[in-house]
Symmetry: C2
Subunit: 164 residues, 2 copies
């Protein structure tokens, strides 16, 4: 089940609003603090579906004069990662908002190398397969990453058009 297809037209304002309201509700329910800084980082990540590096976030955090310092953003990211509100994209050393943070889940992330956007799908089937493989060798899973890099349909259509 695809949760968002950033390369298809969609009302991104809805993405942002839903992400922030879910995050707010979730933190309230868990009794953890979604402080102004943490919320700001989450909003910056949700500006688009292109994952951002920690330093790209930092640049936006600066109040104009001087940019913020690295620990500021890494600490916010640590919190958001712990709460499942963002995922780290290992292929890019970048971070993206999670559209379904309520429950821990295996996120399979599709990454377009041309437009840069990232889409997360709920990989329940994959998770089952991985779980079976782990059980077979008596391995206790703590964290899993599935990332697929390539070209999204939109970019491939464009390239085909250009070439013709």
């Amino acid at each position: 089940m695809i949760h968002n297809q950033p390369w298809r037209d969609h009302n991104h304002g809805d993405c942002v609003q839903e992400a922030i309201s879910r995050a707010t509700a979730l933190c309230a329910a868990r009794n953890v603090r979604l402080t102004a800084l943490r919320r700001r980082v989450l909003e910056i990540l949700w500006q688009s579906h292109v994952p951002l590096s920690a330093y790209a976030i930092l640049a936006q955090l600066g109040d104009g004069a001087r940019p913020a310092a690295p620990p500021t953003v890494y600490r916010a990211l640590d919190f958001l990662l712990e709460q499942g509100l963002v995922h780290k994209v290992e292929h890019l050393n970048a971070y993206m908002g999670c559209p379904m943070p309520e429950h821990p889940h295996l996120a399979a992330i599709f990454l377009c190398e041309h437009c840069g956007c990232a889409a997360e799908i709920d990989a329940a089937g994959l998770a089952a397969e991985i779980g079976a493989a782990a059980a077979e060798q008596d391995f206790a899973i703590r964290r899993q990453t599935v990332e697929i890099s390539g070209a999204c349909s939109r970019c491939r259509e464009q390239r085909a058009g250009t070439r013709a």
Copy 2:
């Protein structure tokens, strides 16, 4: 199908010998040059089933006096990655030898966070699932990563024994 279970006792000399001879044959067949430096890096990676960072490899490459410079090892790694002779472990920013480099494949990598060793399994089933998901959204796959971090059976047995 599990290709190696580094946490079970095994004759590691066989791993090394087979890896090197496969690499040699493969490069000969492809008419690419497995130079002394590249072979050396591959041997260093096969010293154990614990993935090594680029700088850990560098430290071993130095001829005692001064260590080698980063581009030396990154270029060798680029070659080995291109030829499928090694995989990058994104969770660790580290590199490991591939036990089955003949054909491109989706490697699912199990990583023990306690002993550090890594096992690659041929994830044909996973690959099929990912391929189906990609087809559904018309996404062209170029590269995929599957990593599972946790605790291997051996380490869990040890911990259980210690606790008792």
